[in-house]
């Protein structure tokens, strides 16, 4: 028996071509985005849903909420927050179980790819799609319903950090909740009710302060309410802060709660994430 220790192809002919860690993450992100954009259901559902909702809401409630501020100006905050949650929490909570069930994750684990590269790919995809979807939503609202965009750099800055913290928290929670689904099909059964209930109690479809107090208190435990509240500080006049449950937009508390959910999400991901299905041992 021959005991050649290496495949015969000379190594020198192809020097190491493996990209560096950062480049690997970008390649992974590009692959995820390509897969997302080629999957028509994801694009229509994720990108289209918030836009359809704003079209419906802006058409039903075409009056003002008081102080000459249009209803659109209020509901856009809920739609942006919901859109960000859809692209991160729901998208990942539904797709990761499918990839796990199909064995895609198991296949990645069998390669020398560092584990974090796969997570980075998901984050890059979520951020890219989230930005595109939010921009589209704002463009539609400005073009059709005369939405007033934030007027100061400070407000854009608040918009930025609320969106980044919110998306991060929702992404991590989406990855974490994906481990609850036992099969490919059960992902959406796990995620959709959670998302829907949160949307109803967090002031996406109704003016938050019109909701029963106990409901507001339950909503305050979860990130979506705080994302909406942070965004209201961006799109509504300063004076509206007085009508919030806390008497102001409470941006400090928004940051703390969202950051806390990021920590909870990381801990859940690190402790519960599974690369293979349960029956795979």
């Amino acid at each position: 028996m021959t005991t050649t220790t290496k495949p015969a192809t000379p190594v020198a002919a192809t020097p190491s071509r493996r990209p560096g860690a950062g480049a690997l993450a970008l390649r992974q992100g590009r692959l995820e985005i390509t897969q997302f954009l080629r999957s028509r259901e994801s694009v229509v559902f994720t990108m289209g849903f918030p836009i359809i909702m704003i079209l419906i809401f802006a058409s039903i409630f075409d009056g003002t909420i008081g102080g000459g501020v249009k209803f659109t100006q209020y509901f856009i905050t809920g739609m942006i927050a919901t859109g960000l949650m859809t692209v991160s929490f729901q998208n990942l909570g539904i797709w990761i179980p499918i990839e796990r069930d199909r064995g895609v994750l198991k296949r990645y684990r069998g390669t020398p790819m560092p584990k974090w590269v796969w997570f980075a790919g998901k984050v890059i995809m979520v951020v890219a799609i989230g930005i595109a979807e939010t921009a589209l939503l704002l463009a539609v609202a400005v073009a059709l319903f005369d939405l007033d965009l934030p007027g100061t750099a400070e407000k854009w800055f608040t918009f930025g950090w609320v969106a980044v913290l919110g998306v991060t928290a929702c992404t991590l929670c989406g990855i974490a909740i994906s481990s609850l689904a036992r099969t490919a099909r059960s992902g959406s059964a796990v995620v959709t009710p959670v998302a829907l209930v949160l949307q109803f109690i967090s002031g996406v479809f109704f003016v938050f302060t019109d909701l029963p107090t106990w409901m507001q208190q339950v909503a305050a435990l979860f990130p979506l309410k705080w994302m909406c509240q942070g965004l209201r500080s961006v799109f509504l006049p300063e004076s509206f802060g007085a009508q919030e449950p806390g008497g102001s937009f409470e941006l400090g508390r928004v940051a703390v709660v969202l950051a806390l959910w990021c920590v909870i999400g990381v801990v859940l991901c690190l402790t519960t994430f599974r690369w293979t299905t349960k029956r795979d041992g």
Binding site: T2, T4, T14, R18, R102, G103, V104, G110, P112
Partner: protein, 283 residues
């Protein structure tokens, strides 16, 4: 650790609850060898191989794969091991070329994606989305992803299940090419002819134990096996006897019957008989 060994296993055990999947396996696979793990469904083939691949944890035993404990796989080790699993997922929205190119980026000494696609016979499907491939073509893509990193050791778990005979022959040629280039290959199969056609040595696994390891033509001491002589007595009942010297035995019988022996047959066990006896005993 012997450098000539690609795989060394001592006393490997794994149970799922009360169900013992692997009940003490010892195994050595030499570098450059094609080794087949043969056994019926549920014998422990996949569990054993997935422990060697670093997917599953073992309950007990010493395991070294390319000198490394696969329970602590690092990225360097992963780059030296190619894996073709049973029924792993495809990337439905991507083309064959995109998937192979993407995976080539994970390996420090990756092969040329176009060359690998050509080699597994998917050149005319390179631009096709993977969900349009047939079962056999998907399996070829699996193999392409298994060999894109130019592994020293390649695991193939039931690689030809569901293939038609022609596809299987082509696949065997590919495996022989890889073996000729020096790749160590460990494959599991429940097809006797596949083990016989490809493997330098075959390990028969049943009930979580390796019941024998031998070259395919030596399995179960097939060459030295006793012949079975059967005949009918004058009363018409079937009689049979095992004999190491069947010619002398038949001559003796002929003398006793004074001519023709009624219903005389002399048989030796086929590979299938040997195999079925082995896995039967283990149950």
């Amino acid at each position: 650790m012997d450098d000539e060994l690609a795989i060394s296993v001592r006393g490997l055990r794994k149970a799922y609850g009360d169900n013992v999947a692997v009940a003490g396996v010892d195994l050595d696979v030499h570098r450059g060898e094609v080794f087949a793990l043969l056994g019926p469904n549920g014998a422990g083939k996949t569990t054993t191989v997935e422990i060697l691949e670093g997917y599953r944890r073992r309950d007990a035993g010493e395991v070294r794969v390319l000198g490394v404990d696969p329970a602590q796989p690092d990225s360097h080790w992963r780059s030296r091991v190619g894996i073709v699993l049973q029924g792993t997922g495809e990337f439905d929205e991507l083309t064959v070329a995109e998937v192979v190119r993407h995976f080539s980026g994970f390996y420090p000494e990756a092969d040329d994606p176009a060359k690998v696609i050509e080699r597994v016979g998917l050149a005319d499907k390179a631009k096709a989305r993977t969900h349009t491939l047939s079962g056999g073509q998907r399996r070829r893509l699996d193999v392409a992803l298994g060999i894109i990193g130019r592994p020293e050791l390649l695991f193939l778990d039931e690689p030809t299940t569901g293939f038609d005979p022609e596809a299987r022959r082509e696949f065997w040629e590919l495996i022989r090419d890889l073996a000729a280039a020096g790749t160590t290959i460990v494959l599991t199969t429940h097809y006797l002819d596949e083990a016989e056609a490809l493997a330098d040595r075959v390990g028969v696994i049943a009930g979580g134990r390796l019941v024998e390891v031998a070259a395919p033509n030596r399995l179960g001491n097939r060459q030295e096996a006793l012949a079975t002589v059967s005949w009918r007595t004058p009363e018409g009942t079937l009689q049979s006897a095992q004999s190491a010297t069947p010619t002398a035995f038949v001559a003796d019988l002929a003398a006793r019957y004074g001519g023709e022996v009624p219903g005389l047959t002399v048989t030796r066990p086929t590979l299938e008989d040997v195999y079925l006896t082995m896995i039967g005993h283990a149950r």
